[in-house]
């Protein structure tokens, strides 16, 4: 009972910091924190964002709490992380974050061949662009760095409050 309550509290605290258990179907292959893998994979998918000091993690926290992002979409991000790790273990016998940069790219190329993998990368890219190019109020687009990269000025008036 205690552990159940704890788990509920934990879920409430943060989907983003939750643990992902990945398996080969029978045995547990490893446990990773969702946020740790997301940070690494998002940087692998679009290093330009890090170069521009875009705070994608902070933005992803908004997405995981957003009333207008469906639970199924949130689950898909999480499942993708699990499957990505499973693919990494299948290919190189260690979780994604423990691999070298070039091997991580090989894993990404591997999953891009699957339908789920292509969809998942597509989704991740869209969230990365939202973080980079949304209004800075949403905490990703650091000092308009994303806009400046593309010579974009943003529309006026700018939002005064977040739409969540």
């Amino acid at each position: 009972m205690i552990s159940l309550n704890k788990r509920r509290t934990f879920l409430k605290v943060g989907f983003f910091s939750s643990a992902i258990v990945f398996t080969n179907g029978c045995d547990i292959l490893g446990v990773e924190k969702l946020s740790d893998t997301i940070k690494v994979v998002q940087n692998d998918l679009f290093p330009k964002a890090k170069e521009l000091h875009i705070n994608i993690s902070k933005y992803m926290n908004i997405i995981f709490q957003h009333s207008r992002v469906d639970e199924t979409d949130k689950e898909f991000i999480k499942n993708g992380i699990k499957w990505l790790n499973e693919e990494a273990v299948k290919m190189f016998e260690v979780p994604y974050t423990k691999l070298s940069k070039s091997k991580r790219q090989e894993v990404l190329e591997g999953i891009a061949k699957y339908r789920w993998g292509e969809n998942w990368i597509d989704n991740m890219m869209r969230y990365i662009f939202e973080a980079m190019l949304g209004d800075p109020l949403y905490s990703g687009n650091n000092e308009e760095a994303g806009w400046k990269w593309l010579g974009f000025k943003g529309g006026n008036p700018r939002p005064k409050e977040l739409y969540l």
Binding site: E130, P157, R158, Y163
Partner: protein, 552 residues
């Protein structure tokens, strides 16, 4: 309290009546499902407005069931919440007119007589309108002044007759690339028409002029220049607007509507009494409310003795296309012109509003040209796949995005032609699925006529000729049978025969003494233009009819 007029829905179909009747001293109440936003609250927040749909209800709370029919009559069923197929256009005071681009074209005299001008088309339920262009013209003119239309009238083969020489507000400023367009049209022998816009080019009617924000369509207007039903009408009159009021049933007794029941945001029920009721909840929802209001006298739905409520739903047929202008092919001056943001493109072609392919005469349509929407996230998302359709990421993608956005710009076009009314395109209500209010959801049965695609193709090819002449690359277009949710009409046809129409020529229900339907539901055919100007004009016409009736 009993009001003189109760209006259901605060968009372009209802607001002219609220404005006219309250200004004439009558008590008017408007029931609006959504919230109220004013100029101060509209921002250019792409994440909120375009990515998270802040102005439409969540589909898990309010949805439609969509049955998509094939030509052979089979259909596939889609649950709106599961499929994400969204037919909401703007739940807010002023409705979707807040979010329109305001490309305003009048319907032409021949649009009122489609059946007698072009003959019968097999499989299509085409009829002439119950009124003609001349009866609506004074109201088109009124909309130009009161709602505010900016433009300059140009002589061309299909120019509709005007009672005034030109528009009351001068044309909006345009981007330098319009000169390339005009030159190309001159070469090709086409007539370039400055697109009239429901956007004030100068301050008037207690509203500020357009400030060329670069983000017009899909966004609320922060200056009040856009002629939304809210800014142009509801904010300029004393009609009472009740927000968060979802009308779920109209009661009737002895051929009179006696009350409108609505739920507030806490799902508490309220009832409004009035002498006259006006329904203007946008085409699909107006039919749904009538069907959900069945009673002893009207077992098949209110005002539905003809069985025609919900029938002959139409959209705007056509599609869209684009071409890209790249720096490599341009001089430095042209490059600067191309990248100038804020100013409008505003050009249209109507040379083929009517055409002959050698076999028969066709009703054609309108082509509007405009720059690709400036939403930065959606523009970048379009770069995600390479030429072979493979997903990209990393530095390679970053370089592609940079090149595309910084050294080229896309000009798009939209084709508008008639969506022919057919038996399988209509609205009904579901017998199991309900919305968050517990009210049966609308079912949208979708079907299109192959003729629509044929005409759309013909027009798209003309647009392609212009883009080629202008020197665009990557020219592409798509004409499809998928319905644009924001260009919807029909479901409560007007006509002189009560056995095959819902409304009379005054847009009053044949079956009821005090019920009018004043959104686009009345339209038996839609013309080959966006509908909003015609919806406004007809609503001002109905307002005069109601005023005349009440003054007796």
């Amino acid at each position: 309290m009993k009001y003189d007029i109760c209006i259901v829905g605060s968009g372009a179909g209802g607001s002219p009546i609220a404005y006219e009747l309250s200004n004439a001293g009558y008590s008017v109440v408007v029931l609006e499902k959504g919230k109220n936003y004013t100029e101060k609250e509209f921002s250019k927040d792409e994440l909120g407005v375009s990515r998270r749909d802040m102005f439409t209800p969540p589909l898990k709370e309010q949805k439609h069931i969509i049955n998509e029919y094939s030509q052979s009559g089979e259909f596939t069923r889609y649950d709106g919440a599961e499929s994400g197929w969204n037919f909401w256009n703007g739940s807010m005071v002023g409705g979707s007119s807040n979010l329109m681009s305001g490309y305003f074209h009048r319907m032409k005299p021949r649009d009122f007589k489609l059946r007698s001008s072009y003959g019968k088309i097999r499989g299509a339920n085409v009829v002439d309108w119950a009124i003609n262009y001349e009866e609506l013209e004074p109201y088109y003119e009124k909309v130009e002044r009161v709602v505010g239309v900016s433009g300059s009238a140009v002589k061309h083969k299909f120019e509709e007759p005007r009672s005034t020489k030109s528009f009351p507000y001068p044309a909006l400023q345009t981007n330098g690339v319009t000169k390339w367009f005009d030159k190309a049209c001159l070469e090709l022998g086409f007539v370039s028409i400055p697109t009239p816009r429901a956007v004030l080019s100068q301050s008037a009617n207690k509203r500020d002029a357009c400030y060329y924000s670069n983000f017009c369509g899909s966004y609320g207007c922060a200056s009040g220049a856009k002629g939304s039903a809210r800014a142009a009408l509801l904010q300029q009159c004393s009609a009472e607007v009740i927000t968060d009021a979802f009308v779920y049933k109209l009661d009737s007794k002895d051929s009179k509507v006696t009350g409108a029941h609505y739920y507030d945001e806490n799902l508490r029920s309220h009832t409004i009494s009035a002498s006259i009721f006006v329904l203007s909840a946008q085409a699909i929802e107006s039919s749904r409310l009538l069907l959900n209001s069945k009673n002893k006298e009207f077992p098949n739905g209110l005002a539905n003795s003809s069985g025609e409520v919900g029938k002959n739903l139409i959209f705007s047929a056509g599609g869209s296309g684009s071409g890209r202008f790249v720096f490599d092919k341009l001089t430095q001056t042209q490059q600067t012109e191309l990248m100038q943001t804020g100013l409008f493109f505003n050009r249209s072609l109507q040379d083929w509003y009517d055409y002959d392919d050698g076999c028969r005469k066709y009703k054609g349509g309108t082509i509007d040209f405009l720059f690709e929407h400036q939403n930065i996230i959606s523009r970048v998302n379009k770069e995600l796949y390479d030429e072979d359709g493979n997903i990209m990421w990393g530095d390679k993608l970053a370089k592609k995005i940079e090149k595309s956005l910084k050294t080229s710009r896309v000009l798009t076009f939209e084709v508008f032609n008639d969506w022919l009314p057919t038996d399988n395109c209509n609205v009904s209500v579901d017998d199991k699925q309900t919305d968050k209010y517990g009210v049966p959801v609308g079912v949208i049965n979708l079907s299109s006529h192959p003729h629509d695609l044929e005409v759309g193709e013909y027009l798209a090819k003309k647009a392609v000729e212009v883009l080629e002449e202008m020197g665009a690359v990557e020219i592409d277009y798509s004409i499809s049978a998928s319905p644009p949710p924001n260009l919807v009409a029909g479901g409560c046809r007007f006509g002189n025969d009560a056995t095959n129409s819902v409304l009379d020529k005054n847009c009053k229900a044949h079956d009821l003494d005090n019920l009018y339907v004043s959104d686009a539901s009345f339209m038996p055919t839609g013309g080959s233009v966006p509908y909003t100007w015609t919806i406004y004009a007809n609503s001002f016409r109905v307002a005069d009819i109601i005023k005349g009736r009440l003054s007796k």
